[in-house]
């Protein structure tokens, strides 16, 4: 699509066009390889010789679906405006980051050109900085209580080091000041050396 070929700025719609085209071309590419292979060998061998391409096509389809579902949830919603604004940033980061994570396929499929990939890399860095101040609030919103997380590091109150210290003290090895293995093995070993 021309709007994708000439894009120097990517809005949600352009990004989604890129995902869709990438999924379609990945499927078409492996289908064409299969068809060519079947002129030389039987169907089963052709299939076996193209397994990697088939897996790649299925992955690109799945990547496209997750992106599509996220964007459609966002566009269909009437959410509180500040929460929606941050979710829009989250969604844009997800889309941009995924294109860059699979940039090899996007470039190979001629969905993007290298200078567009470079633009997206710059946008990803900008989005990191935009999301940084909301990172903690974004995870607080998942609403997982400390009891469920069962983590010294992820406590809501952030008293990480006190918790790690208590965790160390609760080790079963600390039930004795001198562990019985010292008298049983270490001492005799030392005496023989």
């Amino acid at each position: 699509p021309p709007e994708l070929m000439s894009a120097v700025k990517f809005d949600m719609s352009t990004l989604m066009t890129a995902f869709q085209l990438n999924a379609l071309r990945s499927v078409l590419h492996v289908a064409s390889e299969l068809q060519t292979a079947q002129k030389k060998v039987n169907y089963e061998t052709a299939w076996n010789n193209n397994l990697q391409g088939l897996v790649e096509a299925a992955k690109m389809y799945s990547v496209y679906l997750v992106a599509k579902f996220f964007v459609s949830a966002l566009s269909a919603s009437q959410w509180e405006s500040r929460a929606k604004a941050v979710l829009t940033q989250v969604c844009e980061f997800y889309l941009v980051n995924n294109i860059l994570d699979h940039s090899g396929t996007f470039l190979q499929n001629d969905v993007l050109n290298p200078s567009q990939a470079s633009l997206l890399r710059t946008r990803r860095i900008e989005l990191l900085a935009e999301l940084r101040p909301n990172a903690v609030a974004l995870v607080d919103a998942f609403d997982y209580p400390d009891r469920l997380l069962n983590s010294c590091l992820g406590r809501y109150d952030g008293n990480v080091y006190e918790a790690l210290y208590e965790y160390a003290k609760s080790s079963s090895l600390n039930q004795h000041q001198v562990h019985p293995s010292f008298h049983k093995y270490v001492k005799p070993m030392r005496e023989t050396l």
Binding site: A58, A67, L74, V90, Y94, N97, L131, A141, P145, L149
Partner: protein, 465 residues
């Protein structure tokens, strides 16, 4: 509260509560919090903290005890009519009480009961489901065999119909045909839905589900003609007694074949009411559940990594101050993709659930046309979401530096719960290939100009390419 975390919360541009309501809905959010409060205040659930230091036997016993106590508590509070209507609630309840993502009864609630519901006749549902809902029958779903996994046409267990006695003879003809891996099969279950090749007068009619009683309902002793037990220790999931099961010409009544989709009459006449793919609906259901589950596990790891990154400081700058590691771009590239992917997977889970529900509603009316779409969708997404979540949880673990390796991080537990998602209900590469096979079929339809379901309509945009 740690001052760094307090400042982060103060400087946020939105109220997390608004986002929580978007994720869970106002009512559910309140219910979650109410349940959490109840559990926190109940001494019955305090002992679960000891899990990391317990032996396998103790862990299993404690998990069963907690589950029993929870069921009583949920009933007492009026949360349960049939436990399967409150499946998500029960999971949440249990996880909060026991710190672990699963329990020995999970296949009972996630697969055994849904299979009765989806594949039993009205009479069979009336007979078996109430017993399952009240745990008189504790069941599992025995499909995978020692030598056979996702390729279910290769399963060897046989169910041979004996016209004279109107019984099926269930048999494990080889070592490779021993049922292996079903959760809860080892010690917990007294019933199983067993997937076996139906044979009538020497002819094979393919794979069908059979209700098999495994243990005496009073003594819990294994029945004659059956050998079963636990498969021993694994990488994680220590609370679950994954089991093995071998049949020696074990007889069950004809009426124990789940016959909503295919029937065997008294005189051995076979008839089919639906396409064979209906038999695989349970797998699609579970794969959909995995898509939702991995989103929550990833979100937990992201929560831990992000909060720790706000508290941890490292390497003094030119003013001699150690910055929060969350201020380093490299650290942001570890935690922010995990946060954003968690959100993407949450919304993805909601959409897949909506599609599944609409497909199921159509199936109940006899329209099975969208089953191939459902199969393709859940195969691909189960593989993709579990793969990505596993990778990102490992990155979250590393983002916590050395402490991420300690069980104190909580991430090691999450990782143990995620890893099996990449292999159970189909190893991911196999699932990608199942999805790819569907894509090739749908592409053929697109080329013929046939109408495609919504999640595959992109294949119809051929002129754009």
């Amino acid at each position: 509260v740690n001052p760094d975390l307090a400042r982060e919360r103060k400087n946020a541009t939105f109220n997390p509560e608004d986002l929580s309501i978007i994720l869970y809905g106002k009512e559910n959010l309140e219910l979650r919090r109410k349940i959490f409060k109840e559990i926190s205040e109940d001494p019955n659930f305090a002992k679960a903290k000891m899990f990391p230091t317990m032996s396998r036997d103790e862990v299993y016993e404690e998990a069963v005890r907690i589950f029993g106590a929870l069921q009583r508590k949920m009933k007492e509070h009026g949360y349960v009519k049939g436990c399967f209507d409150t499946y998500a609630l029960q999971h949440y309840y249990y996880k909060n009480a026991a710190f672990i993502g699963t329990y020995p009864f999970s296949v009972h609630t996630d697969m055994y009961a849904p299979t009765i519901k989806g594949q039993g006749t009205d009479e069979q549902i009336a007979e078996f489901l109430p017993k399952a809902e009240t745990y008189q029958h504790i069941g599992t779903y025995a499909q995978t065999e020692l030598g056979h996994g996702t390729f279910i046409r290769g399963l060897e267990t046989t169910a041979t119909y004996d016209k004279n006695t109107e019984e099926f003879v269930i048999h494990s003809p080889t070592i490779t045909s021993i049922k292996y891996w079903p959760g809860g099969l080892g010690k917990t279950s007294n019933y199983a839905v067993v997937m076996a090749q139906l044979i009538i007068d020497g002819k094979n009619y393919g794979l069908h589900p059979f209700m098999c009683q495994l243990r005496d309902l009073k003594t819990h002793q294994p029945l004659a003609g059956i050998e079963l037990g636990d498969i021993n220790r694994k990488f994680g999931y220590e609370v679950v007694d994954n089991g093995y099961l071998r049949f020696f010409h074990y007889r069950i009544p004809r009426t124990n074949m789940l016959m909503r989709n295919a029937k065997v009459s008294k005189d051995g006449e076979f008839s089919r009411q639906a396409i064979p793919q209906v038999t695989y609906l349970t797998m699609s259901y579970v794969r959909m559940g995995i898509v939702q589950e991995v989103a929550t596990l990833l979100a937990q790891a992201a929560t831990i990594a992000t909060r720790y990154s706000a508290v941890r400081r490292q390497t003094a700058n030119s003013q001699g101050i150690e910055p929060q590691i969350l201020d380093y771009q490299t650290q942001q590239m570890k935690v922010i993709p995990a946060i954003c992917t968690s959100y993407a997977f949450f919304f993805n889970g909601f959409e897949v659930r909506k599609i599944y529900d609409s497909v199921m509603a159509a199936v109940e009316k006899g329209d099975v046309s969208r089953l191939p779409e459902m199969h393709s969708l859940t195969s691909g997404l189960k593989a993709y979401c579990s793969d990505v979540s596993c990778d990102l949880v490992e990155i979250c673990r590393r983002s916590c530096g050395g402490h991420g390796y300690s069980n104190a991080s909580g991430i090691t537990r999450i990782y143990q719960l995620l890893v099996p998602c990449c292999t159970f209900e189909g190893e991911n590469t196999v699932l990608y290939l199942q999805c790819a096979r569907s894509l090739m079929k749908f592409l053929g339809k697109a080329q013929k100009g046939e109408e495609l379901p919504s999640s595959l309509q992109f294949l119809g945009h051929l002129p754009d390419v």
